[in-house]
């Protein structure tokens, strides 16, 4: 018998399934009886399961690279002419491959907890390990049954495959955006599993939370950067000049991120003030349930979206999984509620914990309103049969004020002490930021920014930046006085030694960049649409756009119709090539924008229409979008801040190995 990637992959997944099921029992027994041999068995099960799933993923990559069209997934998502890069990333270009990747990440997280988590917290982590094995079993069931078996054989082996969805073989971000999102989604399983384990054991304390705080932070950061990468992809590929459409798929990703953000903040309240215990458990459960809801919404095809590229039997299974998770978690939480008493007392409304509470309420409200807008069309259709959509106006009108409220709270929260602030403290903390806010508002008006919301965004952005600068300045001054360090060394030491606090401020700066980018690009984009002939030129917001003509380009996997544009002015001189792409196996042509990116503004060009008979004219749309690149930059700064906050801090003895870390430093 000859070697086949399909047999290898199927075999690996079928071998992994019983191991994962065994792992549930072994870990549960080890936790209940404190049995070392059972724990060892569970650990090896976790490791071998992980290796088997990785082997299956590599078998799929091998099948894709060798164009093994005897596998239906390869035939549907790959073609002989697909470039190697997009062949490899096709692992996550469609449903079955995505679920395989998901399973591999979950198996990795399970193995990590098995080997690094259990030595630190034997009972808690071993119970969490059983929970993770149970979740892993569900996903292994999906990939070993027709629901999402990635290795189903083709009925007839085609000579060539369909190739990936044209939209998905167009941009290198395709390599980054989905895996980041999946990592973010799946790694949140670890805090969830610890939370559930803590409830099962009736611990009542915050050990689960301290042990998984870093996991939550990393998964939150990956999800956030993944969302920004997704909007960048949408901007660079879809050719509409926007980056966020409140599409159900985007909503599915932003909802768990919003709740996780609330959680990362309320965690500090529990650590510092012994408050919000059941609330934190609820947030973790909600975040995790929303990741599954997001997968259900995007993978089952229930909502109308470019991303919902598959409608398959997996929908009811994911829905069942979601319902089971919500029912079991909420049931556990209610059962254990009496053990979850808060022992601390909340301070005055002008204390840090009060601001964190408000911030949590706003984050949860933002999540619920996005959820309402996303699910309302489904509910309305189910109840009345009417088909409707909830457009941008709803989301813009509801979410923009909430976002501004959050920006405001982000400015004042870190400046207030726990328990409550005195008048003197308020004056010391807020004099400079209020002056800065006035300056921000003036800047917005002076640069001709229209709209109260945009002006308010600038004011609040300046306010937050001033608070962060003030914090860094005070920290540096204190270090210089205490340790006699130079300003640069003091700055580096703040980030290194108090990373959780100062990394958090860096994250806040990243959020400010995003807010300014959104406010500016939404209120000041200039759009020009012209029908031109070769040699024509026209003006767009100070840039001169010259049309050189249309030409055809043939590439192995596709044909392009390119419009040659030269953009000059404002110090720029760039050749742009907006195009229409024609793929042999798609009836649909795909537009591809030509973008001249800059820190000040982007010139975004789209080939809208052309003379199909003689090619004598083309209609070109030119958007001049200010500050949009700050959005991607802001995403990067958020990621950087998260890295600073997540790095182990020196000179603080780590209480527990690996997962755990020393007590919080925020607010020290």
């Amino acid at each position: 018998m000859s070697f086949s990637f399909a047999d290898l992959g199927t075999g690996a997944l079928r071998a992994a399934l019983p191991l994962a099921i065994w792992g549930i029992g072994a870990a549960a027994y080890a936790a209940a009886k404190r049995d070392g041999r059972a724990l060892a068995s569970a650990r090896w099960s976790a490791l071998i399961t992980f290796l088997l799933v990785v082997l299956a993923a590599f078998a799929m990559i091998g099948a894709l690279v060798t164009h093994d069209f005897s596998i239906a997934y390869v035939a549907r998502n790959n073609a002989l002419e697909t470039p190697l890069f997009f062949t490899v990333v096709s692992l996550w270009a469609a449903l079955e491959g995505s679920i395989l990747l998901w399973t591999a990440i979950l198996a990795g997280a399970t193995a990590y907890v098995a080997w690094r988590g259990t030595p630190a917290l034997p009972r808690l982590a071993t119970t969490a390990l059983a929970v993770l094995f149970a979740m892993l079993t569900f996903f292994l069931l999906l990939v070993t049954t027709p629901a999402a078996d990635p290795f189903v054989r083709s009925e007839i082996v085609p000579l060539d495959g369909n190739g990936p969805n044209p939209l998905l073989q167009n941009h290198p971000l395709m390599a980054l955006h989905p895996p980041l999102l999946y990592l973010g989604y799946v790694l949140f399983s670890v805090p969830f599993a610890y939370a559930i384990a803590s409830l099962i054991l009736g611990e009542g304390g915050d050990r689960w939370l301290v042990a998984t705080r870093r996991f939550a932070l990393v998964s939150w950061a990956l999800l956030g950067v993944g969302i920004v990468a997704g909007s960048w992809w949408s901007y660079a590929v879809l050719g509409w000049g926007g980056y966020w459409a409140w599409d159900p798929v985007e909503n599915a990703a932003i909802m768990p991120w919003l709740v996780a953000t609330a959680y990362l903040h309320s965690v500090m309240v529990e650590e510092k003030r012994r408050l919000l215990r059941s609330w934190n458990l609820s947030l973790v459960i909600a975040t995790f349930a929303l990741t599954i809801l997001g997968t259900f919404l995007t993978r089952s095809g229930v909502v109308n979206s470019v991303h919902a590229f598959t409608q398959s039997a997996i929908g009811p299974l994911l829905l069942g999984y979601l319902v089971a998770i919500v029912v079991l978690s909420v049931g556990l939480l209610l059962w254990r509620l009496p053990t979850l008493r808060d022992t601390g007392a909340v301070g005055t409304p002008l204390s840090r914990e009060a601001i964190f509470l408000f911030q949590n309420v706003v984050f949860v409200a933002a999540t619920l309103t996005v959820l309402l807008g996303t699910l309302y069309p489904l509910i309305a259709e189910a109840l009345s049969g009417a088909q409707l959509s909830i457009g941008r106006p709803y989301f813009d009108r509801v979410e923009v004020p909430l976002a501004l409220a959050l920006l405001f709270l982000m400015g004042i929260g870190p400046q207030l002490p726990w328990h409550g602030a005195s008048r003197a403290t308020l004056e010391r903390q807020f004099t400079a930021p209020i002056v800065a806010a006035a300056g921000g508002a003036l800047l917005a008006v002076a640069t001709g920014l229209g709209g109260a919301f945009a002006v308010l965004t600038y004011a609040l952005a300046a306010f937050v930046v001033a608070t962060v600068v003030q914090e860094f300045a005070r920290g540096i001054r204190a270090r210089r006085a205490l340790h006699g360090e130079s300003a640069g060394t003091a700055f580096a030491n703040l980030l290194r030694r108090s990373g959780r606090r100062y990394g958090g401020y860096v994250v806040h700066l990243g959020i400010v960049l995003v807010a300014v980018a959104v406010a500016t690009s939404q209120s000041k984009t200039i759009e020009v649409e012209r029908t031109v002939r070769a040699g024509d030129q026209f003006d767009a917001a100070g840039y001169t756009v010259a049309f050189g003509g249309l030409r055809s380009v043939s590439e192995p996997q596709r044909d392009l119709l390119v419009a040659d544009l030269r953009v000059t002015g404002n110090g720029a001189d760039e050749q742009l090539r907006p195009a229409l792409l024609f793929f042999p196996n798609a009836t649909q042509a795909v537009g591809s924008p030509g973008i001249a990116a800059g820190l000040h503004d982007d010139v975004y060009t789209i080939l809208v229409a052309y003379d199909t008979t003689a090619r004598s004219w083309a209609t070109v749309r030119v958007l001049v979008i200010p500050l949009v690149s700050w959005l991607w930059l802001g995403g990067g700064v958020v990621g950087l801040g998260a890295v600073i906050a997540a790095l182990p801090q020196p000179k603080r003895r780590e209480v527990m190995h690996g997962l755990a870390e020393a007590p919080a430093t925020v607010g020290d």
Binding site: H307, G373, Q387, L388, Y394, L402, T531, L580, G591, V608
Partner: protein
């Protein structure tokens, strides 16, 4: 205890306010997705935003690249609606193929489209006469 109560009231007030704003906007932002026949039967008022799904009638598509005036007839086989838009049609918009237009009816019964979307790929089946457009088109 006093501080706790003040906080609780403030939090509840914020939640109620946000809920109120959300529900208000939900009702006004809902855009119904109809076939031309359904739109006629429901007697959609002029100025109300709706989405119509149907086919571009063969021989009806006109676009003047100079005035950027776009006109075509959208039909579901029973009811025909004259659609007027501004700007070049999407490159994928073809006569006989599916299209979705978003906009409002004018008093004279023509449809002023703010957005024209071609539904042209293999996964989309144009609605059969009288049917509600498929909601699951990617």
């Amino acid at each position: 205890m006093g501080a706790r109560r003040v906080l609780l009231i403030a939090v509840l007030a914020a939640a109620v306010l946000i809920g109120f704003v959300a529900v208000q906007n939900l009702a006004s932002s809902a855009v119904y997705y109809l076939t031309p026949t359904e739109a006629r039967e429901r007697n959609i008022a002029a100025g109300t935003a709706v989405r119509l799904g149907g086919q571009v009638e063969t021989g009806s598509l006109r676009y003047d690249p100079q005035t950027r005036d776009l006109r075509f007839v959208l039909t579901d086989g029973t009811t025909r609606v004259a659609v007027i838009g501004t700007g070049a049609p999407p490159a994928l918009l073809r006569e006989g193929a599916g299209a979705v237009v978003e906009g409002t009816f004018a008093a004279d019964g023509t449809f002023r489209a703010t957005q024209v979307i071609a539904k042209h790929d293999e996964q989309y089946a144009p609605p059969s006469p009288g049917a509600t457009p498929s909601h699951q088109t990617p």
